[in-house]
């Protein structure tokens, strides 16, 4: 039995010790928004936030999240109230097949929480662990930049 905070709510769940966090999320908790792309930490489709930091959930053993904070795509926004990044991804055409999208959004969210005013290079770096085969990344980078610029305006 492990206890951790999932998308802001404390949960308690039974999980075999060899299960990965990805498997726990997808198979036990039915959170299918986190994707399994390569299963070996190369593609970033399974990115979730662990205590605010992006991790490949396919490489994290489930028991390791005991007492920690896990955020997934299901926790960042909903139909009625989208996260600014989600809105921006829609507006900028940053989504094609969409398989990488949840992972990219989680990496971007983590970046903006740690560094609200990243440069274009820092954005590229932050999502460099998330492979995307459709978009060529440019609209993704533009979508993140637009949120950054919006945040800048708000702080001024």
């Amino acid at each position: 039995m492990i206890r951790f905070i999932l998308n802001g709510r404390e949960i308690e769940v039974e999980v075999p010790p060899h299960w990965t966090l990805l498997r726990l999320l997808r198979e036990r908790l039915e959170l299918k928004g986190t994707k399994e792309g390569c299963g070996i930490g190369e593609c970033g489709a399974c990115t979730v936030l662990l205590d605010g930091m992006p991790v490949n959930s396919c490489l994290v053993l489930a028991p390791k999240v005991e007492g920690r904070r896990v955020e997934t795509i299901e926790g960042i926004g909903n139909k009625e109230s989208l996260h600014p990044l989600q809105k921006s991804f829609i507006e900028f055409g940053a989504v094609q097949c969409g398989f990488c999208t949840p992972g990219v959004l989680m990496s971007a969210k983590s970046l903006l929480e740690r560094n609200p005013h990243p440069t274009r290079e820092e954005i590229k770096e932050a999502i460099s662990g998330n492979l995307c085969r459709c978009t060529g990344y440019q609209q993704i980078i533009e979508a993140i930049e637009a949120v950054v610029n919006h945040l800048k305006r708000e702080t001024i």
């Binding site: 399994e36 070996i40 926004g77 969409g98 398989f99 959004l105 460099s128 978009t135 440019q138």
Partner: protein, 749 residues
């Protein structure tokens, strides 16, 4: 126009950003059996026996299928039916499916797969097309190792080369490239409420899948249903069957839900690849750069099975001249079986490979003749009225010249930027230009699409299309076209797509054909509905049909402006469903088997790319700083999606140029198959040219594959510009670039 030409967000984007879209592995099912495929470890061998007893003893294993369990024809393939779903008597490549496990849990099916013993008798295997064509080569298929030989002839090349003042002859080689879509193939099989064997999975063509499965199971077509799940990319890899055959076979026998998820390594091993082509290319030109003749010899490796090998063989030959006027042309193209991984459709069907050759040739000519690379292309660019190498007169929408003119300013700007390269002497900068053309749709064969749109008495409007949206946005474009015709916003039209239970054949999401061909079918269906609504309104209100027209979802009268009746109101008064239907098949003719003469495509898309590259002379590392990509798409129905295709295509083209190489037996996963990351891709400046195609929906042609074709040759030409040496084999890896640099050093005194 209100809905066409606007970059509205894709209709399925909300569920994707919320993580709610359901891909193959996400589909819900009540206690399904888990499937696992047992695969060949031999490149070429007879199957003597398959021993399953030990595997069947594993707790949880329900059943093990072999070829004997296939009730129908165990041969599939889009053009040539030569590929078994489960190998029966022999295997032809490492990874070929030989047995299928169904078990209560994934662990049991995996364990059982390891315990199946296949007794093989090794056969000599073939690893190159040259070897496959030798007289004493082992036969991979009974009919011989030559899958197809295609010839194209125009004028007389001997005369053409005599007229030439410069002749360039070189050989270009490309290798296997993986689609590398991120979603591993996966899906569900079950018997639906109407008793149909049903498969839901990622795919690029549900109706093709349906026909293959019906034939495999010896079932009538209507007893098989294929539904496309949200599809995590395709790029051609999902035009052939992936998981469909296995899911359908197990469902058919077990009458229970079954689930199959390929491992990521399995996807790399067993999904088709881009065909490696070896291209010998001879060009003749006058001193002013005008081409007088080209002679091209293409040799391709289709691997163990035909798949789209014939298409690549023919399409690469037809596109061999590039988008240029060439009076004398001779092309021989051969596609050969080997025991290598099988190659199939991949974004461009051989055109990215042939463009690498014709654009390298053009660049060499420009250098030898000291003509600006844009100028030499402009002098040769196809124009309206010119006859292509197949003898097809181009009637309209030939935007190649326009793309060259529009992009010229950027090459001048880039040259200006090169002047300050002296700061870091080990870095050399270069600029490369490349153009391309691409025939929209299948080559010289019928490839129709159908669509329907209906309005219900309750006011509901439903658009039916068999088109598989694989992320490029065809669902959105379908709605934009219907919306424009009916004058109603897309959110008032319900789209039913890519489910053989409800939709009719739209053909494959391939050959950049869906906007042009299915777009036209949808346009015609919408126009048909418009006519029928006018007719109904005329009958209901006693006004002549000629006086009525449709605007903003209302039937209005020219003479009596106060008459304005919503079509939903008309449908309500009629009390029955009113249905518009549309079919479109591009006007093509078959190609002459001797000369290749004919009309292979109804229309062509054109593009020019300019790449700005930097080469590190010490490491051979190439950095692409910027690509300007100018595309004649006819009309951008959704400019945001067109730009999305262009930028994504440039990224894939960058990978093709610099890093992507599948090595049989070595490449296993994303660990050793590198695709561009956010740090590897150039900045892209997309430019859209709209030279309208009169037969296209609102003038549209296509862009999907076109986006990638010109990028790699532009980068390769940029490298040549930077280091003064040329790369003839893709990818231009660090080692190859360094080797080229060192060759120069050795040669120079």
């Amino acid at each position: 126009m209100k809905y066409v030409g606007i970059g509205i967000p894709n209709v399925d984007v909300l569920e994707k950003v919320l993580g709610q879209a359901r891909y193959g592995a996400d589909l819900p099912s009540e206690s399904p059996l888990h499937l696992k495929v047992v695969r060949s470890t031999k490149p070429h061998a007879k199957i003597v026996e398959i021993l399953t007893e030990e595997a069947l003893c594993i707790s949880g294993v329900e059943r093990i299928f072999t070829a004997k369990d296939i009730p129908g024809r165990n041969l599939v393939g889009t053009i040539t039916k030569d590929q078994p779903v489960l190998a029966s008597d022999r295997v032809r490549y490492v990874g070929e499916a030989v047995a299928l496990i169904a078990a209560e849990n994934p662990e049991a099916s995996e364990e059982a797969a390891k315990k199946v013993i296949v007794i093989y008798e090794d056969l000599p295997h073939v690893t190159s097309p040259e070897e496959a064509l030798s007289i004493d080569a082992p036969l991979i298929h009974e009919k011989g190792n030559l899958l197809l030989e295609f010839h194209l002839r125009k004028g007389d090349v001997q005369t053409g080369f005599k007229e030439a003042e410069v002749i360039i002859e070189e050989t270009y080689t490309t290798t296997w490239v993986d689609h590398a879509y991120l979603e591993p193939d996966a899906g569900l099989g079950y018997i639906d409420e109407e008793g149909r064997v049903t498969v839901i999975c990622p795919t690029q063509n549900v109706h093709y899948d349906q026909k293959e499965i019906a034939s495999l199971l010896s079932l009538p077509l209507e007893k098989v249903r294929i539904i496309q799940s949200t599809t995590g990319g395709g790029f051609g890899g999902r035009l052939d069957l992936t998981v469909q055959g296995f899911l359908a076979l197990a469902t058919f026998h077990l009458k229970r839900p079954v689930k199959l998820i390929y491992t990521p390594e399995e996807v790399f091993q067993v999904i088709s690849k881009r065909h490696p082509l070896k291209i010998r290319y001879k060009s003749g030109a006058k001193k002013d750069g005008t081409l007088t003749a080209v002679e091209v010899d293409i040799l391709g490796d289709t691997g163990a099975y035909a798949s789209y090998g014939p298409t690549v063989c023919i399409r690469s030959a037809i596109h061999a001249t590039g988008p240029y006027k060439v009076p004398n042309v001779k092309v021989r193209s051969r596609m050969v079986y080997t025991n290598n991984p099988w190659s199939g459709a991949m974004r461009g069907f051989g055109v990215p490979q042939i463009a690498f050759a014709h654009e390298s040739q053009m660049d060499i000519l420009a250098r030898v003749l000291e003509i600006d690379p844009i100028e030499i292309r402009l002098r040769n660019a196809l124009q309206v009225g010119y006859e292509t190498a197949t003898g097809q007169p181009l009637m309209a929408s030939v935007g190649i010249g326009e793309t060259l003119k529009k992009i010229r300013i950027f090459t001048e700007e880039a040259r200006g930027g090169r002047k300050d390269e002296s700061r870091e002497p080990k870095i050399k900068r270069g600029i490369g230009v490349s153009s391309m053309w691409y025939g929209i749709g299948y080559t010289g064969i019928a490839n129709p699409s159908t669509a329907q749109i209906e309005i219900h008495p309750e006011g509901e409007i439903r658009l039916f299309t068999g088109v598989a949206d694989i992320g490029q946005g065809s669902n959105t474009i379908a709605l934009q076209i219907a919306s424009e015709t009916l004058g109603l916003p897309p959110d008032e039209i319900q789209l039913i797509h890519a489910d053989t239970g409800f939709t009719t054949d739209a053909g494959p999401t391939a050959a950049s054909r869906q906007t042009y061909i299915s777009g036209n079918a949808i346009l015609r269906a919408s126009k048909d509905l418009e006519r029928k609504m006018i007719k109904e309104a005329s009958r209901l209100f006693g006004i002549g049909e000629n006086d009525l027209f449709l605007e903003e979802g209302k039937i209005k009268s020219r003479r009596a402006p106060r008459i304005s009746i919503p079509i939903k109101e008309i449908a309500k008064r009629c009390g029955t469903v009113i249905r518009g239907e549309g079919t479109f098949d591009p006007e093509t003719t078959p190609l002459d088997p001797e000369t290749g003469k004919g009309v292979p495509y109804a229309t062509y898309a054109f593009a020019t790319h300019v790449a700005e590259v930097e080469v590190d002379m010490e490491t051979g590392k190439v950095k692409v700083n910027r690509v300007i990509a100018c595309h004649d798409v006819g009309k951008a129905i959704n400019p945001k999606n067109v730009i999305g295709q262009i930028i994504g295509g440039v990224a894939m083209g960058t990978g093709f140029a610099l890093m992507e190489e599948f090595i049989p037996g070595k490449t296993t996963s994303f660990v050793n198959y590198l695709i561009p990351t956010s740090k590897d891709v150039p900045e892209v400046i997309p430019i859209i040219v709209e030279d309208k195609e009169p037969t296209g929906p609102f003038g549209a042609k296509g862009v999907g594959e076109c986006a990638l074709i010109a990028t790699a040759p532009a980068i390769i030409n940029g490298i040549a510009d930077a280091i003064g040496k040329r790369i003839y084999r893709l990818p231009a890896s660090l080692e190859r670039v360094l080797e080229a640099i060192q060759k120069r050093k050795m040669k120079s005194p």
